[in-house]
Amino acid sequence: MPMLALLSDYTVQNVAIGAVLLGVVSGMLGSFAVLRQQSLLGDTLAHAALPGVCIGFLIAGTRDLGWIMAGALVTSVLAALFVLALTRRTRIKTDAALGTALGLTFAAGVVLLTWIQGQSNASQGGLDTFLFGQAAATLRSDLWIMGGVTLIAVALVLCCWKQFKLVTFDPEFAGASGLPVALLEGVLTAMIALAVVVGLQMVGVVLMTSMVIAPAVAARQWAKRLEGMVVLAMGVGIVAGLSGALISASARNLATGPLIVLAATAIVLLSILFAPGRGVLWEQIRRWHDRGTIGQRQMLSTLYKLAAHHRDPEYPAEAGMLDGLYGVRTQGILRRLEQRGLVEAVEHMPGEGHHWTLTPAGREEAERVLASVSPETP
């Protein structure tokens, strides 16, 4: 199908708008979650949406996204409060509290799901799609609700931008300057649940954790400031959401959630490897380069000091002796220095092996190196 026809298709339009909304809300709220080291809370809150989906369905009597999202929001927030209560009021540690809440809420969801199916309700079939998401089933009316939630989230973040920023980076200082830290942290945590419910239709409850984490982690590699990180994370979320959703909508029987997650993960990997400055690849290259230059700088200063010690600027240092001094083969380093015109091979006496001596340019370079290492030596 040509691109234009693809874009004018009703389903494709819906899917694309949904993906954009998902990207905006998950990128924005995920940035705060990742920076506050609450990544795995997203996992728990996402799974905790399942019983809410079922309860919303039971209240509405049909597969009405508004009620389902409301139910999911309530159970997600309750799960967050449960985790908080367990860690604050008992000796249970965070990881066990997260796992407990995740396992139990999901079990409750499974029980409710099978209970609804047992009621032989004709319209129950649609609930399964909330496990892995089904972008193609998105309706225009669903988008209005998702858009509304996204709008609320964006408005909240814009209103409290400074406060959220301070609480994220320096909660102690925020508290000292009189901000209601506990309340703000509670709101930020509850907002992860907002991201989860927007993702229900597109990604589903099981994989939504990835949409909270991956765009934020990818954006973190490129951005140095929170503003940039949040905007980039939205962008990554939109790109991942669009590519996953469009593939899923065009191919039959491919769940949307996994495709979106794999797209987002691919962007994360590329970012970790190639992001300018922070990329692992650049660091590796820099390290290789440094390893070479450090060896060369060391060799220059060694030769210079030997020459100074022997009061002979053109003192020929024996190759085997240099190998012994460094404990490794030094020929590679010396060859590279020779290419740069800083040392030259000399024949000291016949049959005594290779000798190396500094060229005038090498002496200048060695003096620069020594001066940069310890400025006080003349």
Partner: protein
């Protein structure tokens, strides 16, 4: 024939499968919870889905050792990849966990979608398990048709139990004091990876019965509940196993009654036992804590009373201060509170009452003195 009745009883078989999942899970889960790595079980149980699908597509082994070992390797791969990503220092460990397992899981689900016709499981089973259908896949042992799930769960549970018993001392030390364990040459890292390998094999063996996500409840919730009941390792392991067994039995009953998912109900019942532990735990339960807090409040009031009496004993104001009305006027207690505190202090032998006058006993006076002059020797 006894054995025939045993293996022929499908209810018993289902309950036993659930109990075995819970026991095997609790044995490893206890250490994960104590080491604060509980969420690794979540990561592992999700990502083995990829391993199960890949092994199935390659070998068509539906269960058995190849399936278990092959898929368990994916579990270890998850941990390895997580540590690899975290070691770049570009991503925090918790975010790294949350990046790796959804990706592997997503790949597994997509393979399921693509090869749906060839694979014996669908995405529904992946998440929910089908403990009621363990009879679809049986194996003949000594002339009896036994569900495969039971056979492999038993093997895994026994392996976990053997591991815990044989390495009990080493596990205990490396859980509570990894530095000392390393210094003594117990290789805590190797033990940890062995633990994760066993968690993976358990997840794979339990997969057909309870799926990828419910497994997390079986691994984490019983040890967490047991953690509220005891401060010792061996009792914690046993209590966790007991909770797992009870959850399996009660979950089966309730599931039949409500006609809902058996595996889901079993997992949910572990939560009921956690609730009981939260309420009634002997030292860490809510009631015990409130009781202790109440006792401390009472003790605090009694201390206030004896110090007040001690300060005014043998002074000119004793007539006014060391009398019942002064408790309301000077200590700010209302009448009922003053009466209750007085009654309790009399019963504890701190105070004597004669008419409206109050006198300290020897015990009461020593208590007051030790509070005011903690450095002075007892008389």
């Amino acid at each position: 024939m006894m054995l025939e009745a045993f293996f022929g009883n499908s209810a018993l078989m289902i309950v036993m499968t659930g109990a075995l999942v819970g026991i095997a899970g609790s044995l490893v889960g206890t250490f994960l919870v104590l080491r604060r790595n509980a969420m690794l079980s979540d990561a592992i149980s999700h990502s083995i889905v990829l391993g199960i699908v890949v092994v199935w597509l390659l070998t068509h082994a539906q269960s058995g050792p190849i399936q278990i070992i092959g898929a368990a390797l994916t579990g270890l791969l998850t941990v390895f990849l997580t540590e690899l990503i975290a070691s770049t220092r570009r991503v925090k460990t918790d975010a790294a966990i949350g990046l790796v397992f959804p990706a592997l899981f997503a790949a597994g689900v997509l393979l399921l979608n693509l090869y749906a016709r060839d694979v014996h499981i669908d995405e529904h089973t992946v998440l929910l398990g089908e403990i009621g259908f363990i009879w679809l896949d049986t194996i003949a042992i000594g002339g009896y048709e036994v569900p495969q799930a039971i056979v492999w769960m038993s093997v895994v549970a026994l392996a976990n139990a053997a591991f815990v018993i044989v390495f009990f001392k080493e596990l205990k030390l490396s859980t509570f004091d990894p530095q000392l364990a390393a210094a003594l040459g117990f290789a805590p890292t190797v033990l940890f990876y062995a633990l994760l390998a066993l968690t993976s094999t358990t997840a794979v063996a339990a997969f057909d019965a309870v799926g990828a996500v419910l497994f997390v409840a079986f691994v984490i919730v019983p040890p967490t509940a047991a953690y509220l009941l005891t401060d010792r390792l061996a009792p914690m392991l046993l209590l966790a196993c007991a909770i797992a067994i009870l959850s399996s039995i009660s979950g089966y009953q309730v599931a039949l009654w409500l006609d809902v998912s058996i595996g889901g109900m079993m997992a949910l019942m572990t939560g009921a036992f956690l609730g009981l532990a939260l309420l009634f735990g002997p030292r860490h339960g809510w009631i015990a804590q409130e009781w202790r807090r109440l006792g401390e409040r009472h003790m605090e009031a009694a201390r206030t009373l004896v110090v007040h009496l001690y300060q005014h004993e043998n002074t000119g104001r004793a007539e006014v201060e060391n009398a019942v009305p002064a408790l309301e006027r000077h200590l700010g207690w209302n009448a009922a509170r003053a009466q209750a505190i007085l009654a309790r202090s009399r019963k504890n032998g701190f105070v004597l009452q004669e008419g409206r006058m109050l006198y300290l006993t020897h015990k009461g006076r020593e208590t007051a003195r030790s509070l005011i002059e903690p450095w002075a020797p007892a008389r």
